[in-house]
C-alpha cells in the first residue's frame, strides 16, 4: 500500500484498522541468489538497491533478532560527510547525496532534517585541525564552513561563547547539509521497500554456519530456521561480523566495543542543530519528539553485552552541562548501548574476502548510521557485479596487508 494523504484520509475514516503490514514475513525458500546476513540499515539498504538498481530480487535478508533492534535503532542519528581523507569524503558524501531524496524514493517518511552539524573548536589545535578539515572538504566540493564564535552563536543560540566558559569556544565548523533522520524509520522504510520488490526479510533467524563446496565457494548458510542455499553471501553484521566470518574461517581486523547514548525527557524546541565537540567528546541534538539525544564515547574494552560503563555516560553529560548550563537540571530518561565494530584505522570495510561468493560490509564503528544509503548502494553494486564500486574500492580488506590504510582514527572529525 502506497502512503499518501489520500490513503491517510481513507484509513482515518476506517479507524486506521486497514493498514497492511509494512513488510512480508515469509518462510525462507530453499535457496536464493543472494543472502544478506544482518537486517540492520546497511543490510536492508543493500537488499533494496540489489532489487531496485540491479534487478536482483531473489534475495533474503536474515536477521537474528528483529528489524530495527540492533545498532540501527541505537545510534544518535547524526548525518554528515565532513571527513578528512579523499576516500572517506567520497564515501560519506555519496551517502549524503542520497539522503535528501530518500523519503520520496522509499515512500516512507524518514524525517530527514538537514538542520546543520556544528563541530566546536575549544583550543588552538582544534582551530588548526578544524580549518584543515574545512579546506579539505571545500576542495572535495563538500559543504563545510568556518564560523567565528559570534557567527557560531548566531546559528546556535544556546552556545556560551563567553571567555569564562569552562570550554571556551574559539570557532566552529558547520556542515549545513548535515543533520539527523529518524533511525528506525530508515530500517523500516528500506525493509518495506525491499519487501515490496520481492526481497524476503526473515527475522528471528540466526546464522549458525556458512556452507562451502569442495572448491571453497560458498553454497549457503545454516540457520536456526534450517539450511538456506545461496550463490552469494553478503555479511553486514556490524558487531557480530567477526563471529559470522569465523564460520568461514576468516579472521577479521575488528574489535567489537560498546557505544552508549542517552536521551532526556522531552522538552519544547530549544536546540536548533547538531553540536559536536571532539575535545571534550560529547555531541547533542534534539529529536523531533523533543528529547535531547546525547552520545558518549566508546568503552575501551571489547564487549557484546550491549551495555557500557556509567562513567562513560557521566563524562558525556558533564561535558554537555559545562557547554550548555541550561541543560544542568534536565532529567535523563533512558540510556542504552550498542555493539560497534571498530577497525584499526576506523574506516569501514567493503570487500570481497578471498572466498568465492563471500562478501563483507563492516567496520563502520561508531559512525555508520550516516552512511546507510551509500553503504547499501555501493555494496549492492559489489554483490551484483562481483567487483567493487570505484568509491568503495579503497575500503577493501587487503589494505591491511598493503598498508594503504585510511587513517580516520587520527583524522576523524570526532573522537572514536
Amino acid at each position: 500500500m502506497k502512503f499518501s494523504g489520500l490513503a491517510l484520509l481513507r484509513q482515518s475514516l476506517g479507524g486506521h484498522r486497514g493498514w497492511d503490514r509494512q513488510w512480508r514475513s515469509p518462510e525462507p525458500k530453499a535457496a536464493y541468489d543472494v543472502v544478506i546476513v544482518g537486517g540492520g540499515g546497511h543490510g536492508l539498504a543493500t537488499a533494496y538497491y540489489l532489487a531496485s538498481v540491479h534487478g536482483v530480487t531473489n534475495v533474503a535478508v536474515l536477521e537474528r533478532g528483529w528489524i530495527g533492534g540492533g545498532n540501527t535503532g541505537r545510534n544518535t542519528t547524526v548525518i554528515r560527510s565532513n571527513y578528512l581523507f579523499d576516500e572517506s569524503a567520497a564515501l560519506y558524501n555519496h551517502a549524503l547525496d542520497l539522503w535528501p531524496g530518500l523519503s520520496a524514493e522509499l515512500n516512507y517518511n524518514l524525517m530527514f532534517s538537514p538542520r546543520g552539524v556544528m563541530l566546536l573548536a575549544h583550543t588552538l589545535h582544534d582551530v588548526h585541525i578544524t580549518k584543515r578539515h574545512v579546506h579539505s572538504n571545500r576542495l572535495h566540493g563538500i559543504d563545510n564552513v568556518w564560523l567565528d564564535p559570534v557567527e557560531a552563536k548566531a546559528f546556535c543560540p544556546p552556545l556560551d561563547i563567553s571567555e569564562r566558559a569552562r570550554y571556551p569556544i574559539l570557532g566552529a565548523a558547520l556542515q549545513k547539509s548535515g543533520g539527523t533522520a529518524r533511525h528506525d524509520a530508515v530500517a523500516w522504510g528500506y525493509a518495506r521497500a525491499a519487501s515490496a520488490l520481492g526481497v524476503d526479510i526473515i527475522e528471528n533467524c540466526a546464522v549458525l554456519g556458512i556452507g562451502r563446496d569442495a572448491t571453497g565457494s560458498v553454497v549457503g548458510v545454516e540457520t536456526s530456521r534450517g539450511p538456506i542455499g545461496a550463490r552469494k553471501i553478503g555479511v553486514v553484521a556490524a558487531g557480530a561480523t567477526s563471529t559470522i566470518m569465523d564460520m568461514a574461517g576468516v579472521r577479521m581486523p575488528l574489535e567489537s566495543h560498546p557505544l552508549q547514548a542517552l536521551v532526556s525527557e522531552p522538552v519544547k524546541p530549544c536546540f536548533p542543530c547538531v553540536v559536536m565537540s571532539n575535545t571534550v567528546h560529547a555531541y547533542i541534538s534534539q529529536s523531533d519528539k523533543g528529547e535531547l539525544v546525547i552520545g558518549a564515547g566508546a568503552d575501551q574494552y571489547p564487549s557484546y553485552s550491549q551495555t557500557g560503563g556509567v562513567h562513560q555516560l557521566t563524562l558525556a553529560v558533564e561535558a554537555i552541562c559545562e557547554m550548555f548550563p541550561m541543560f544542568g537540571r534536565m532529567r535523563m530518561l533512558r540510556s542504552w548501548g550498542g555493539t560497534v565494530d571498530l577497525t584499526p584505522d576506523r574506516s569501514p570495510i567493503l570487500s570481497d574476502t578471498g572466498i568465492a561468493g563471500l562478501y563483507v560490509n563492516c567496520g563502520w564503528g561508531t559512525g555508520g548510521f550516516k552512511a546507510t544509503p551509500g553503504s547499501g548502494h555501493l555494496f549492492a553494486h559489489h554483490l551484483a557485479t562481483g567487483s567493487a564500486h570505484p568509491i568503495a574500492a579503497p575500503f577493501s580488506l587487503d589494505r591491511y596487508t598493503t598498508g594503504r590504510l585510511i587513517d580516520e582514527a587520527a583524522a576523524a572529525a570526532v573522537a572514536h
Binding site: S242, T243, E255, S256, S303, G309, H311, Y400, T401
Partner: protein, 95 residues
C-alpha cells in the same frame, strides 16, 4: 565500570587502567623476513571472541605494569588476572 584485580596492586576501578588489546599476540620471530600477510595478521587480525577473552591491560594510574585479564565479553565479568609473560590462566579461576 569494571572491577579489575591488578596482580600487583589488588582490586581497583576500571578508570585506573587502560585496555591494551588482545593478549598473547606473538610477534613473528623474523619480523624483517616475514611476508606481508603474516605481518598484517600480527598487527591487525583479532579473534574478537564472544565469551572468554584474554586481553592485556595496563595499570596506568597505579603501578604502570602491563598484565593479562581473562574476561567474558558477553557478561563483562572478569574471570581471572595474571602477570604479563605468563601462559593463559585456566578460565574460571578465583580472583
Amino acid at each position: 565500570m569494571l572491577l579489575i584485580e591488578c596482580p600487583h596492586c589488588g582490586p581497583r576501578a576500571e578508570i585506573e587502567f587502560r585496555y591494551s588489546g588482545e593478549a598473547h599476540m606473538v610477534r613473528p620471530a623474523a619480523a624483517a623476513a616475514c611476508d606481508d600477510a603474516t605481518w598484517a595478521a600480527y598487527l591487525y587480525l583479532r579473534d574478537n571472541v564472544r565469551g572468554e577473552h584474554a586481553e592485556r591491560w595496563r595499570h596506568t594510574h597505579g603501578c604502570g605494569q602491563f598484565f593479562n585479564v581473562v574476561r567474558d565479553t558477553l557478561t563483562d565479568r572478569v574471570v581471572t588476572t595474571y602477570p604479563a609473560g605468563h601462559a593463559r590462566s585456566a578460565a574460571g579461576g578465583e580472583i
